[in-house]
């Protein structure tokens, strides 16, 4: 009920697929998706393992609400040890693949070992088998999806795959499903590539049953109503997508610009959600074609765009002319503001390449930003890169996207990510990363709480682990001052714990613009065994957070890694409301450890783990 109560274990070394019952005790403790998959990972993978070795495992996990009629109930999570960070990686994706996996009767797939030759997993309800993917190796995500559907003569198959970036072990490569939805961060695609697993193709016809269907429909309808009347989820996100934020964040002086040297971008409006609606001079059409929903989503923030055929990047490449996944805020920021490029069409081209070959546009854009700063300082030359790469160069950005996706030339260095690249060229301080993962689009000098959220995120710098932007900028659930540190440790913890619950339920964290855990509890109560209260859900989130932290601690991370690049701690913002400010992480971190029940060194105390029932 809610769950399929079954997991699929795929040993790539021996080529076997086996069904196992779901650990229901763990499901009551960790719910599903992010939480439950992390519990399996912690049980089965040595935290010290080389992420790209056969000893690492790769878990695709749905949540209890995945594949149900609950709004946004289409999410799945990929959990593994991440090659970009060396920490636990947990990347969440929407689209339709997750629901299809549940429909086929599986809560989770655990991949272990490494196939000798490229393979893909084909799942049709109860049947699961590994198939030869020799013909697919070297193909893009888009070609792979088309090939598999044609091969099986089934257009309704859902595919999750890696492109050339994952094959080439680009350390920020992602796993892409439904052409342009991605388990995007921390390099989960490289782990898949290291296992010679090209794709997972699923067709599910069994469907999902819930505990009490009538009550479930009442609960999900009530929750949908909350989304339907909230201005963010009913107007802002459908109309502008997450790109609704570009101008807002620029105005509050928290839009990291040119490798985070600045906090406001003069070209912000040109790359904003509003700009995507404006007719282009060249063809009179806006870049945005329509919005689109993932499975079951009643918000529909997704962007479907058409690039300008006349743009220099695509004028000879008709394959990019059709409608496809458009710019989200993080992508537009990383590819745009952070590189100083204000050419919306160039950003969309780089975005298309990221989707086509499976790269995280945040880490890619941010790494390009570091390259540009190294270039401007004369550390890197045009000869080394192959062309000039100053800030603002759309040519350099798009050329680097091609090279990185294909593992050619200087693209191989970019594929290392910002931290390793900056170390290689002798300037580690220019890498805008935490635990090796590149920053997203909120400057912590202008949003103090986000500094703490980044520094303590279990998967490295990330906005989706504790989005205090909601409170500090948007006033959700209540407004706090973005420029103060007071109360932020508690705020960050509250957001991190709630997010853990949202992620583990199988729904989209964007619902949290309107929902709290109190909106999720009735939906779970009608769907799965157990009594779920808001308090219990927050406890699940806290438990997941501590479990992840436990893994990272054993992987070798400690308090010294809970930090920010010097630039954010020492170079004050030069403009905007935060002018003159740095991030005051030091004022927040000790208190954070205290409210977490961790030692002053950031290690979860035994009594904290015991209180939460983290049974490791």
């Amino acid at each position: 009920m809610g769950y399929a109560n079954r997991i699929l274990r795929v040993n790539l070394t021996t080529g076997t697929c086996q069904a196992e019952p779901l650990n229901e005790k763990w499901a009551q403790l960790y719910l599903g998706s992010r939480g439950l998959a992390s519990r399996y990972l912690v049980a089965e993978v040595d935290p010290k393992v080389d992420p790209l070795s056969p000893e690492n495992k790769l878990i695709f996990a749905t949540g209890p609400l995945t594949g149900t009629i609950a709004s946004t109930g289409g999410r799945y999570t990929v959990v593994t040890k991440g090659p970009l960070t060396g920490a636990i990686a947990c990347s969440n994706s929407g689209g339709f693949f997750g629901a299809e996996l549940k429909f086929a009767g599986w809560d989770m797939i655990i991949f272990e070992g490494r196939a000798e030759k490229p393979v893909y997993l084909y799942v049709e309800d109860d049947q699961a088998e590994l198939r030869d993917a020799s013909e697919l190796w070297g193909k893009s995500v888009w070609e792979t999806e088309e090939w598999i559907k044609a091969k099986h003569q089934d257009p309704l198959i859902r595919v999750s795959s890696i492109g050339r970036a994952g094959e080439n072990q680009v350390l920020f490569s992602c796993i892409v499903n439904d052409l342009h939805r991605a388990a995007g961060r921390s390099g989960v695609g490289a782990v898949m590539g290291s296992k010679h697993l090209k794709a997972v193709a699923v067709r599910g016809t069994k469907g999902v049953k819930v505990k009490d269907l009538k009550r479930f429909l009442e609960a999900t309808n009530a929750a949908k109503q909350v989304l339907a009347i909230n201005p963010v989820t009913s107007q802002g996100l459908p109309k502008y997508g997450t790109q609704v934020l570009m101008n807002v964040i620029n105005e509050v002086g928290a839009l990291p610009t040119r490798n985070m040297r600045e906090v406001q971008f003069e070209g912000a409006d040109a790359i904003s959600g509003e700009a995507m609606h404006r007719p282009r001079p060249s063809d009179g059409k806006p870049q945005l074609v329509t919005n689109a929903a993932c499975f079951g989503c009643t918000i529909a923030c997704g962007r479907i765009s058409k690039i300008d055929k006349n743009h220099f990047t695509v004028k000879n490449s008709p394959k990019y002319w059709g409608a496809s996944g458009g710019l989200e805020y993080e992508a537009a920021w990383a590819l745009g503001a952070d590189t100083g490029v204000d050419d919306l069409e160039a950003l969309q081209y780089a975005n298309l390449l990221c989707n086509e070959q499976g790269m995280d546009p945040i880490s890619f854009g941010s790494t390009v930003a570091a390259v540009m700063e190294l270039y401007e300082r004369g550390v890197l030359t045009a000869e080394q890169i192959g062309f000039p790469a100053p800030f603002g160069s759309a040519e350099a950005l798009t050329k680097l996207a091609e090279l990185t996706a294909n593992g050619e030339g200087f693209g191989r260095d970019v594929g290392l990510g910002s931290k390793r690249l900056c170390e290689k060229y002798g300037h580690p301080e220019l890498s805008m990363t935490v635990k090796g993962q590149e920053f997203p689009a909120y400057d912590p000098r202008g949003i103090q709480g986000m500094g703490l959220a980044y520094a303590t995120s279990n998967r490295g710098a990330c906005h989706l682990r504790g989005y205090t932007v909601a409170s500090e900028i948007l006033g959700i659930p209540e407004k706090t001052d973005p420029l103060t540190t007071e109360g932020k440790p508690e705020l960050v913890k509250a957001f991190q714990d709630a997010t853990g619950a949202f992620d583990s339920a199988g729904i989209c964290v964007f619902t949290s613009f309107a929902w709290t855990v109190a909106d999720i509890a009735p939906q779970l109560n009608a769907a799965i065994p157990g009594e779920w209260t808001p308090e219990r859900l927050l406890e699940v989130g806290e438990r997941v957070w501590n479990l992840e932290r436990w893994f990272n601690t054993r992987a070798g991370f400690s308090a010294k890694d809970d930090t920010l690049p010097k630039r954010l701690l020492e170079e004050p913002a030069s403009t905007g409301p935060a002018k003159g400010m740095v991030n005051r992480l030091g004022e927040m971190l000790p208190k954070y450890y205290e409210v977490r029940g961790w030692t002053a060194d950031g290690v979860p105390k035994p009594e904290t783990l015991a209180r939460l029932g983290v049974d490791v």
Binding site: I69, F103, K209, V289, A293, C297, K306
Partner: protein, 157 residues
Amino acid sequence: MWKVLAIDPVKCTGCLQCEMACSIENYGVIATSKSRIKVFNFEHEGRKVPYTCTQCAEAWCLHACPVDAIRLDQGTGAKVVDEGTCVGCKVCTIACPFGTINYVQETGKVQKCDLCGGDPACAAACPTGAITYVEADWAGLNKMQQWAAKTAAAVLA
């Protein structure tokens, strides 16, 4: 008075709430594969189009059925499959020009939209108004009203 499902693809986001509602209504399970309404995704045009039976007045399926298993629901105008009579011969699936009546292996019968007896679950579930249930004779009323508004704006400007 009969009503029909009016579909406005421009409003469709492709969320599949309609497909889930349909499978729940007819099979008590959430399974888009069992839905009688299908949303087609024309990826490269950026269009999503829900499609299902339009309940033809002179229904090909009804006329083709050799055992008279497809009957008119006088209350709603829906052409309804009587599962007790259907022998699963699939002649109706050949006769239907639109492909909206289909065979179901699990039951050995055909299935098609029956308008849920006059309260279509798909229309109720659609979050954007892409699927509505409107008077059969005035399915175009909304569009007429929109154009009337445009015309008025042009004339009065």
